[in-house]
Symmetry: C2
Subunit: 323 residues, 2 copies
């Protein structure tokens, strides 16, 4: 990243969600020079999707002086395999089976294209433009509808034997009979406690077990969201604070275990839940310090992503374009 | 490793234990050409230890035609830091503080010297000469007095930000009030259940809770070792088999979680406990299959080290000498 003066100065990032596909043309500092959005769904097939994308991208590419100024493209997509450049059996997309998405874009644009999943893209983005600049060992934890992770060891994302390494949201943190059912079919995954929906589940549980007064009692329990909990916490609601404490404790305990794996310089948290700030981060830090093995004590920083939330996914994907 | 014809054809490995230091001169196929042993304790200081070692090594070095045929040296030692070449505050050694062991040997021999801990050395040995030849992603689990690990991602040992990554024996697998006290000061570490001493603890617990007859009841519970459990299992003792099943279950569950980290091609088990063979490996495999996330199912092999136990530590250390 030091000197791009002799290199093509831009990359394209694509954040492919179940609904929208957001494209950005990005420079080496992480500034999005041009952006465009198309729907992800509603095409005859993936070829039609790619053709629509290429057409939509033309004006953005012209903004930076044409495709000859673009070094490569990175795609963050569900079930994306870095090794093969394919999207494999993604439940949230219309295309079934193995979709050679990197090859299709690469042939259409004439530039190298790499793909990976959202959490690995977030880690790349953080390392290239964000809180992990200059770090060679860190773990990215994304707290959204689910919990994802991107693990960087010695400056490189860990993809594992099959391209699917780094699913720390599915480490089992509770093996008791009361462990929560996870969408993956198993019970007690970290994700069931510390995703946005996990926070809502914790809210319902604490509301049922506690006699504390709370603004959250004015909401139908089934409708409570992690945002409601945040709003209540901001108003000093003790029960809401307890919900974040419980969530942070689970995350801190889990991260203490993750430290025993790769001894990272930092954990970087990203996603909607991190808006809770210290309501969440303080309990994470407390549980981490109380649970981490002595040899790792006071080593890893626990940080919140510094990338602008709405741009982070596109920036993360684009970071792959520099490889 | 393919062609060493133009390279120096031998390396030195040193397995430094609390009692003995075993040196081997090793070729690229993992054959130990010459070996020598000195005591690790009883020297005035580390310089005297190194001087004694160098003198003891001379005949072994002559066997392969002198130091000019030796490419490098690797040392496996407790609390050894790969990045700094030092042994840091090792509880089992007489030298306190930070000992620059790599520098001392390198200056005395005139060859490059690298150090790492025993479990990482075992992983290097397995990758260079053993069951992990040709693998780029695997996790070594050493089952001895403690439980150690060496994690290889993309062909490289994971050392982390500080050189101390890979302490999977201290991942917490039980957070219940009954979790076992660990020597690290915390409770519920994997090591307290699946080390040789962990097996003995499980034996005492099952003997106390069960009414099954067992040969193990003839031994004073405090004297039972994992070897006693193995001998009983060989004789068809049901309670002994139950002890290995419980041990294997804990290991299989833990490895299923580790898969979510680095999606390895294989887990390789090493150490005295693996002599239990299928008594231990079958329950590991069963628990792994039952607990691993669907995306990793039927991917990782669960293997036992193929290195000769008494030579493995020296071979593992020597593998660092090729770097």
């Amino acid at each position: 990243m030091e000197c791009k003066c002799m290199e093509k100065p831009y990359v394209i990032g694509l954040d492919m969600g179940g609904t929208n596909s957001v494209f950005g043309v990005v420079d080496a500092r992480g500034t999005i020079k041009a952006q465009t959005v198309i729907k992800t769904r509603g095409y005859k097939n993936v070829e039609e999707y790619v053709a629509t994308a290429i057409e939509a991208l033309q004006p953005a590419i012209e903004v930076v002086g044409g495709i000859e100024n673009i070094k490569g493209m990175g795609i963050g997509a569900p079930n994306a395999n870095y090794y093969t450049g394919t999207i494999d059996n993604a439940a949230n997309l219309e295309w079934k089976g193995i979709v050679p998405i990197a090859k299709l874009f690469s042939e259409a644009l004439g530039i190298p294209v790499r793909v990976t999943n959202d959490a690995n893209a977030a880690a790349m983005g953080e390392m290239t433009y964000g809180a992990a600049r200059g770090m060679k060992n860190f773990i990215m934890i994304t707290l959204g509808t689910g919990v994802g992770s991107g693990i960087v060891c010695d400056g490189r994302v860990v993809y594992g034997s099959d391209g699917f390494a780094g699913e720390l949201g599915h480490v089992i943190v509770d093996r008791s009979p009361e462990a929560r059912q996870c969408g993956c079919g198993r019970k007690g995954c970290l994700e069931t406690y510390t995703s946005a929906t996990g926070v809502a589940r914790t809210a319902r549980l604490i509301l049922a077990n506690s006699t504390l007064e709370s603004k959250l009692r004015d909401i139908n329990p089934d409708d409570i969201t992690s945002y409601d909990v945040f709003v209540a916490a901001e108003a000093g609601d003790k029960l809401a604070l307890e919900i974040f404490e419980e969530t942070g404790r689970r995350l801190g305990e889990a991260c203490a275990d993750f430290a025993a794996f790769s001894s990272p310089e930092a954990f970087i948290f990203f996603g909607g839940l991190t808006k809770a700030g210290d309501y969440l981060m303080n309990p994470i830090r407390k549980a981490y310090d109380e649970n981490v093995l002595f040899v790792y004590k006071d080593k890893a920083k626990l940080l919140v992503s510094t990338l602008n939330g709405s741009e982070a996914a596109v920036l993360g994907a684009s970071a792959l374009g520099w490889e």
